[in-house]
Symmetry: C2
Subunit: 110 residues, 2 copies
């Protein structure tokens, strides 16, 4: 009977009360929500398999098959929670995975 180490333990309301645990749970949920969407998973996968694990926004629209504003919207959301980093290079914008943040998600379930 292996024990699950999950970091989520800190989400449980402590003997003290609820608010703190709740706030932490909301922060984690916000992070997970940023990943819990098929289009975003495809975007992340495309970035991850790209050279240097970064991708130009211009290369995401066509293979995924949604409109350019939709891709832009998802990238913004993921960028807001720090999952991806944005870098402008002339006309184009390149996105890359933020490994620190990614590691935090990984730790949650480790």
């Amino acid at each position: 009977m292996t024990k699950i180490a999950l970091q989520l333990l800190e989400c449980a309301p402590s003997s003290e009360s609820g608010p703190l645990a709740r706030e932490k749970a909301e922060n984690i949920a916000d992070l997970l929500k940023a990943v819990a969407d098929p289009t975003r998973l495809q975007i992340l996968a495309l970035i991850a398999r790209s050279e240097n694990q970064e991708a130009c926004a211009c290369n995401l629209t066509e293979p995924i098959g949604v409109s350019q504003p939709t891709i832009s919207h998802h990238l913004k959301k993921m960028s807001e929670v720090g999952l991806v980093s944005r870098e402008r290079r002339g006309t184009w914008v390149w996105y890359s995975l933020n490994k620190e943040r990614w590691g935090q998600i990984s730790d949650l379930f480790a």
Copy 2:
């Protein structure tokens, strides 16, 4: 420059086309959506820190502070994606973490 091993790679549309990758991405998204909610994270954490990593539904409502039907609803959703297992014991219903499913999430981000 460490490489991210992420299993999500398979979500990326292959050279062939999109549908298969899309379907896989949707499956993963469904699983992640079942966790991407603060109340559910609190439920999971409470179960995980309980003895034998199982908890009676009756012990979840009060510490989390939402109504009994709400807890029941969340448990049903998480049970539908196989994240928790349900077992009736007389009047009470006990829920436990499904470690296999949990491991699958863990692998996604490993």
